[in-house]
């Protein structure tokens, strides 16, 4: 150890510094903070994730994709089948599950996406979703993989089990999340695509609807400005 200056005032200064440490110990006790929480009102925008998608992406994707699917599959009075009470029969949908093929892990969002889609489908008058617990029970009994249900024999077996349990199935519904990433220097844009595919169990005919949302990720706070406003079409 070498001293930078060997004067008395230096040593005095050092003593004060060392003693100051003691004061610091006393004064700074309890400087660790606490964690706080607050409710985010329905009218407030969702927090935007800095590294991956969250509620700000998945919620609008689900809303849009389901709304499009319901619009496409809306029953016209001419095509509707009516029950004895004069009301049109709702079509029974078995929502098989959400498949994640995006580059991000869904974590705890996967089950939430399932519930959001399931609830919205169930709220519509055109469709009636079969309880997930019954779907799980049928999968358990048949030991079929969700992605193998489109094989005719498997579909037959699966729907017959549900039928036996008093749950006839008109449609199977699959949700698939995919992503595509565009890189540009230290920024990237990820396009999230939620596809809903509904398959008629009697004819095998399917209908597909999608919703897409893109999100930019930047290392710099100016990344958004640079990539989308100032130099939107500049290459690397």
């Amino acid at each position: 150890m070498t001293r930078t200056q060997s004067s008395g005032s230096q040593s005095h200064k050092l003593l004060l510094n060392v003693l100051g440490l003691g004061c610091l110990v006393a004064s700074m006790a309890g400087c660790r903070g606490y964690q706080y929480g607050h409710l985010v009102g329905g009218d407030k925008p969702d927090m935007v994730g800095s590294h991956s998608a969250g509620g700000e992406v998945y919620k609008p994707l689900v809303e849009e994709a389901v709304a499009r699917l319901l619009g496409t599959c809306a029953v016209t009075p001419a095509a509707a089948e009516f029950g004895p009470d004069g009301l049109p029969f709702s079509r029974r949908v078995c929502f098989v599950g959400v498949e994640n093929k995006s580059s991000e892990e869904l974590g705890d969002f996967k089950d939430q996406i399932y519930q959001l889609i399931d609830t919205q489908i169930n709220r519509s008058q055109a469709f009636e979703a079969i309880s997930r617990r019954l779907v799980d029970a049928a999968l358990l009994e048949t030991r079929l993989r969700p992605d193998s249900l489109l094989i005719p024999d498997n579909m037959q077996l699966f729907t017959s089990v549900l039928q036996r349990d008093g749950q006839p199935v008109d449609y199977l519904l699959y949700a698939t999340l995919t992503s595509g990433t565009t890189e540009r220097n230290s920024s990237s844009q990820r396009d999230y695509l939620l596809t809903l595919e509904i398959v008629d169990t009697r004819t095998g005919h399917y209908t597909k609807e999608q919703a897409e949302l893109s999100k930019g990720y930047h290392r710099s706070p100016l990344g958004k400005l640079a990539n989308y406003s100032i130099f939107p079409s500049a290459g690397r």
Binding site: M1, L15, V18, A26, K101
Partner: protein, 458 residues
């Protein structure tokens, strides 16, 4: 090594007797501190001996006593208590303790300048222990296991929290030490593996299970167990109709613990020490320094290789290592070592500086007074110990095997195996296997005999 050379000629001259008394008092304080400071390792010797001797009641009683009078090691004592309770079959209580530690460590991760300053004039034990990086991940792994041993209702959440915590740790490590820190830093393969197990058990989230098993495979390459899991969730199903699955999870061997040793200050450590000291005074760090006290990680050798599993009298499988906790602790220790040494170096310089300043200020010219100050300085430095706090009752390895067997009650025997032969008769338990469901068996084998109960999920 020159620190202070010339007394301040203008300074007030103190009476030699006062100086001598002051120095003697300082020495006494240091002696008392030296005697009064039992190390963490020595405090925990008794309960840990009782634990490994399979006297869980005694271990619990002793740990309870220590918990009443914690000396900066409360969370570590709580973790040992949680382990004892888990192996006594009280998974709910163990889970509660683990939760408390998880939350407390989260809180303690925030920096405290008070503790940093206090540790600069004492030692690292003055810092509240917020767990080594690998321990933070393992708390969540054991939370998952504790939950699975009950109804498993929170197991999925814990698996997610484990992976999330790991990501945070890697991000923070990369921020501190650069991109040399890989994604595998402090990541036990058991963490994604447990995620895979619980997702596969849903019978519809095979894609999640596949992603988790792939991650486990990256961390524990070449594991036959994981390879089979990947193959199954890619094309197969959880189990055949009429069959259930038993996961045998073995905690094998005694895990890592810390002891005190000495280390030379590296150039990198001296650089960091210089940064720490720049906040204290105008001192420069010497190019070399005598060795400083630091902790080192040790683990006893494995008592045997695998657990053999017999179902209804027929040997059908052996467990395979999923995570080596010794390696995990070692990597975590190595990554943090430079900082630990740097803090020790800074501490030594501050202590020496304080003694020289006091001598200077109090005009301790007489040889007796000077000697007394030097003695006080030596004792002050000697009162310093390496921080050996750690979760000391962890196993050396976590091993697993998956058994798909017909639903119903089966007698399952677990026995330690070395070089293909059983070393002891092991333990025999009845296990109810449910059609299409997972059953979990957890046992701890620090030696060739298991300790506590073999836990079976409800």
């Amino acid at each position: 090594m020159q620190v202070m050379t010339k007394p301040d000629s203008d300074a007030t001259r103190f009476h030699p007797t006062f100086v001598l008394v002051f120095a003697s008092a300082l020495s006494s304080v240091c002696v008392v501190a030296l005697i009064g400071c039992s190390t963490h390792a020595s405090r925990l010797v008794g309960p840990r001996q009782a634990f490994y001797a399979n006297d869980l009641s005694q271990a619990h009683a002793q740990l309870d006593k220590l918990a009443e009078n914690p000396k900066g090691d409360e969370t570590v004592v709580q973790l040992d208590l949680a382990m004892v309770e888990l192996l006594r079959g009280d998974a709910a209580r163990a889970e509660r303790r683990l939760l408390e530690v998880r939350d407390q460590w989260e809180h303690l991760e925030q920096k405290s300048l008070a503790e940093a300053a206090a540790s600069l004039v004492t030692d690292d034990r003055r810092r509240a222990y917020s767990g080594e990086d690998y321990e933070k991940v393992l708390v969540r792994v054991f939370l998952t296991l504790a939950s699975l041993m009950q109804d498993g209702v929170d197991a999925e959440s814990y698996t997610l929290q484990t992976l999330d915590k790991h990501q945070q740790i890697v991000a923070r490590a990369q921020e501190k030490w650069g991109d040399s820190v890989t994604e595998g830093y402090c990541s036990p393969a058991i963490a994604p593996y447990l995620r895979g197990i619980v997702r596969e058990a849903t019978l519809h989230d095979y894609d999640d299970a596949l992603a988790a098993y792939r991650m486990a495979d990256t961390l524990q390459p070449g594991s036959a167990v994981i390879t089979a899991d990947i193959e199954r969730v890619t094309t197969g199903t959880h189990s055949s109709p009429g069959h259930g699955v038993v996961y045998v999870i073995g905690l094998v061997g005694r895990g890592p613990y810390k002891t005190e040793t000495e280390a030379l200050a590296t150039q990198e450590a001296l650089l960091i020490a210089d940064q720490i000291l720049s906040a204290v005074g105008e001192y420069s760090v010497p190019p070399t320094l005598a060795p400083v006290k630091v902790p080192q990680v040790s683990s006893p050798p494995m008592p045997f290789e695998q657990l053999g599993v017999e179902v209804d009298g027929r040997a059908i499988a052996t467990t395979m290592p999923i995570t080596d906790l010794h390696e995990l602790a070692l990597r975590s220790y190595e990554a943090n070592m430079t900082e630990v040494i740097a803090r020790s170096v800074a501490r030594r310089i501050v202590k020496k500086g304080a003694v020289y300043t006091a001598k200077d200020k109090l005009q301790a010219d007489s040889s007796i007074a000077s000697l007394a100050f030097d003695a006080a300085g030596v004792l002050w430095e000697a009162s310093e110990s390496a921080d050996t706090r750690c979760w000391g009752v962890l196993p050396r390895e976590i091993q697993c095997v998956r058994l798909e067997i017909p639903a119903g009650t089966h007698q399952i025997r677990l026995e330690p195996i070395a070089s293909g032969s059983p070393l002891a008769s092991g333990v025999l338990v009845d296990v109810d296997v449910v059609d299409g469901r997972n059953t979990y068996m957890l046992s701890y084998w620090p030696g060739i005999e298991s300790i506590g109960d073999v836990l079976i999920s409800h």
